[in-house]
Amino acid sequence: MAVKAITPDYKGEAPDSVENFHGNIMFHVNWEKHLMFCAPLAFAMPPDAPFSTLLEETLPTAYGYHPDWKKVDWSTVEWTLDHEPFDPKHDASLEENGIVHRSLLRFTVPGAEGIAGSGS
């Protein structure tokens, strides 16, 4: 739907297009049922970074505070990418795994239900 504007054919510049991120893409990760982390997270990384960097460096820094973090076994974790089931190749890059600017990754750790099973 077109915006009602006083200027004919009004169009806005989008400040968050990928070219403004200096070679990075910005994407989002959510650890399901762990709402002690109040919101999904935002990361900016080069698209050719290996997926394994995310698993070995980025996410442990982001989520390692949680006592459930020790239950994480990447071979059993369930993923979705942009709401579709997702089976990431750990050695491939983010891009090769189909992760693009503003993608949303969600992961569930079987048997981890948050603090006292509260989803926190």
């Binding site: 989008a14 968050d16 919101a39």
Partner: protein, 509 residues
Amino acid sequence: MSRKLNLRERYQRMTRDLAWEPSYQSKSDIYPQMEFEGIKIEDWDKWEDPFRLTMDAYWKYQAEKERKLYSIIDAFAQNNGHLNVTDARYVNALKLFLTGVSPLEYAAHRGFAMVGRQFAGVGTQVACQMQSIDELRHVQTQVHTISHYNKYFNGFHDFRHMHDRVWYLSVPKSFFDDAMSAGPFEFITAISFSFEYVLTNLLFMPFMSGAAFNGDMATVTFGFSAQSDESRHMTLGLEVIKFMAEQHPDNIPIIQKWIDKWFWRGYRLLTLVGMMMDYMLPKKVMSWREAWEIYFEQNGGALFEDLARYGLRMPKYWEQTIEGKDHITHQAWGIFYNYTHAAAFHTWIPDDEELDWLSAKYPDTFDQYYRPRFEYWREQAEAGNRFYNPTLPMLCQTCQIPMGFTEPGNPTTIGFRASDFDGNRYHFCSDGCKDIFDNEPQKFCQSWMPVHQIYQGNCGGATVPDVLNWYHLNFGVDNFDYAQSPDRQHWQQWKGEPAEESDAPDEAA
């Protein structure tokens, strides 16, 4: 023989008699913003002035209020009134209110001046111009309060600069920028009706009663001084809706869409107020849930029953707010607890008595979903391991609040919505925020999103101290947990309370 005009005649002279027919300029050139929104006005003279106030009477009333206000503010300052608040934690609610809302009073002053120039009816022009002056008075009185508290507490020192930069202040800022960049009819529907008429009681009532309960006479005083203006503004809001609705049936779907949009935007904005009520007032007035029941479900419900004769209905997604009333304040406090290292106010875990109050006020949700996380955080803080979220959050493109709201019907799962527009993807916290984007993607694709700007390198650097420096916040002073704050240390000194080690677990951190 000349005779003095009575008040009504003076008002008539000031308004209708000023509305002459232009002879050498077209009306569409004089009022160029009257058509593009699609609102049809057939007869501006049908505008019923809700308050027939002449300028001389207005100045007289306002001057009296100012005299009372400033004598109380002076007395407050001379008597060190800030020492009479219940606890220094309370001042953090003030920090959020005065840095978040006071700049909106100024924005309202500008907005009403602009629409007062644009409306083609003189009664409407006068009403908007008086409100514009009211709003300027409100921001001035609040700046005096900022000035007083700024002498004794941290985080108040640069509210104007902060308003344009700090991540959570982008929530109120974007709300008003959205209204001011709309046309005049949408602006007045957004601010006068949806905010002032439908929702303002939820801002002023809890905040001013909260100030009174917590011994903050400076805030109570500006609240009372503003209150008689607010009732005038509310009356204007209702008149605006009735006038547009009665002018042409084609206006109804346009007005309804604006009501849907601005109700949802206001509801998201008021989450911050609800959080203050439930978490930041040492002496509580009522819960957010109770306030929403009285001021929206009952009063708002009756209002929309009354408006049904025009074909207007309750705002879209209002049902979600009924479920949300049990959740949103706890989720919001969690957001600020996560990111208080990047904020200009302090957060803390409620004490046992407060946790019990929350359990009692939210019997269906608090113990099951929220109390466990607060108790875990407290346990960790006491062990010297206070939680701060080390990664920037994902934001909703419309309300700009971190995506911390859960899916209706599923309190352990975040709500996710998205839209693709012009080669980019945009994310939202709710159906309400997604609809607002989808109706005007050319507008909302331009939003200045604090997290995205940090990642683009536009906010002073990549570390928290870099960004806080760019915000003009003092790292280690304005931010972090209340337990370790200089505010708390000062308060203990002023009140002669011993600084107990066990009360300040983060002191060494």
